[in-house]
Symmetry: C2
Subunit: 364 residues, 2 copies
């Protein structure tokens, strides 16, 4: 099966609604950018890895629409998702006297998307931006839903904003050149949508995991589209995470602790989430929410995707300390996203002793 | 006339609506904080000038409501309205493991309000905050309407967010200890509401200017309340400044250029706005929108308030360059807020040559 036309998923958020375009070759096609807000200036924010591969193609596709197209090349990696790097975007915008209609384009993975989105949220109190995600993880997760942020030394994504993009252009062709480790990281977020929201999709993932790992276009296309559909539904129901949306953080409470404990960038975000899902499934099982077969199934799928299933040996106390800083925690009580049979998730606390057992069983 | 009860003005913004309480003695009264969102932690953000005067009183008034009350003391002044100072708020919040229900209290003038509001907008992608303005200017302008920001070396308020407070507590007693220069700066923003929105209020201001300068309580109370009522109406009609709200920037295009050209903190914001209104009235007159008597009247009122009516000699070209960076500018064209007879304002461009004439007539 080859895709000939772009699939479209709409995020329905009243006056902040927008379309996700999903398909091969979209990045370099001028029509992908039809109907965006008019502006004198466009600014492509990318990194030193992705920029050389795709910035020229994007510039050409945008060419006729903007009087000036600027480009900001940031250093690559989660360790640069901080204020000094973000400020380079502001320096460029103000240095070029960009006005408050300026349109930003995030060309890169999740780090570029998060930083460009946060810069767009704050520049002159808000300018529009477009997500052009170039990793599988960004296509199925971070580029959709309007969560933007930078890290603080004391916690991941602690400083940020809800700021929806005006479009997401997910070009499936860019996935062909991605390192296998990045594909696996993206699969972690795809796998996530099964246990929390769609048992049928989890069955499909299990059946097509080899095809996904091998990047078979039809399998990837379906996985990206279905993931975006589920995320669109959840985000439309709870844009600012006052309830339901928290289920999208399945695996993230443990995962963020792994990332912070090792230092950002040591593990990829998707790797930490993959391992975090194994831990969260284990905790769900020990709390009696699912049976051991279900927890074992999650572990097996994560492992087949090429993701780590054992966390680093930080010590249970250090994990607990890091998780108490999680954004879902309230008054020091850690809230875990746990799963139930049939593709459902719940958010709840768990006894420290039980969490420590899980950590001892799943780390080192 | 003595006020015995607090006046209340409501900013009507659907689920972001909130009340402004205006009256003497409100800061230290526990009832001023009735009905705020519940939280385990409250954080008072103040500066080294205001903190010693009022933080203890505020803590006592809040005492029974929060498990922990933290305090962050920032250095005083517009020159500190920057990222490193803002980051001290994040350091404190994360260092104390404050969760995303934490309530911030901005205890100070416009700089503290802008920075606390922006920190609240960004911390964990948004926590609630309360404005407790301690200057006349903050009470009638910056604490109402949800504009928050920090400065960038290339422009004032360039990095920020729209984030509405959950309450504004304007205690008129705090104005009695304010330096006269700060009273004058506040009067600039009060005077502003006359020519842009309410000719009757302008007449009232003209008649009561001596009483306002002398801080007569009844006059101050009326001026604060009427200013907040006008601002509430404008903000409710155009929260994110897509149109009408821009009229609140009367005097600010010239004023921001003065502040940026001299270096932030050299003139008070209200002083720059006062002088900027004289320039904007002069430009309005040269464009034929108002007659010379009307422009002279604005100048006389500004002067009687104790504000500067001549700008610093930066040179017309430097003024123009600075104004092209104004947030209202579009594609390099400066948009001025100009006035018409009868308490009305319009936003429009003007020929550089004419603006230069105004600058030569009103500076040096």
């Amino acid at each position: 099966m080859t895709l000939t036309a772009a699939d479209k998923v709409t995020i329905a958020l009243a006056d902040r609604s927008y379309d996700l375009l999903i398909g091969p070759g979209l990045l370099g096609r001028a029509e992908s950018y039809d109907g965006l807000p008019t502006a004198a200036d466009a600014v492509i924010v990318t990194n030193t890895t992705v920029g050389p591969l795709y910035a020229k193609t994007l510039r050409q596709a945008l060419g006729a629409r903007y009087r000036r197209i600027h480009q900001v090349d940031l250093p690559d990696g989660e360790s640069h998702k901080d204020w000094p790097t973000l400020n380079r975007i502001f320096d460029a915008l103000l240095g070029a006297a960009c006005d408050r209609k300026t349109l930003l384009f995030a060309l890169g993975g999740g780090v570029i998307g998060d930083m460009t989105g946060f810069a767009a949220a704050c520049y002159m109190r808000g300018v529009p931006f477009v997500q052009v995600p170039t990793t599988l993880l960004a296509q199925v997760d971070s580029s959709v839903g309007g969560k933007t942020a930078i890290n603080h030394p004391l916690g991941k994504n602690m400083i940020g904003a809800f700021h929806q993009p005006v479009r997401v252009v997910a070009d499936l062709d860019v996935l062909t050149t991605l390192p296998q480790r990045e594909i696996a990281a993206g699969l972690a977020e795809i796998i996530k949508y099964g246990p929390i929201a769609d048992a049928t999709f989890l069955d499909w993932i299990e059946q097509h995991l080899d095809a996904l790992v091998a990047r078979e276009p039809a399998a990837i296309a379906h996985a990206v589209k279905r993931s975006c559909e589920i995320k669109a539904r959840v985000v439309a129901a709870d844009e600012r995470e006052s309830g339901l949306r928290a289920i999208l953080n399945f695996g993230h409470t443990f995962g963020h602790a792994i990332e912070a404990g090792l230092g950002y960038g040591e593990w990829l975000h998707g790797e930490a989430v993959g391992c975090g899902m194994v831990m969260a499934a284990e905790l769900s099982q020990r709390l009696g929410l699912i049976d051991t077969a279900c927890a074992a199934r999650i572990r097996a799928i994560v492992q087949r995707a090429g993701l780590p299933v054992r966390g680093p040996a930080l010590g249970a106390d250090r994990y607990l300390e890091l998780m108490r800083h999680d954004k879902k925690a309230e008054a020091g009580e850690i809230k875990f996203v746990l799963i139930e049979p049939g593709g459902r998730a719940v958010v709840r606390a768990a006894p420290d002793a039980l969490v420590s057992e899980v950590l001892r069983a799943c780390t080192g």
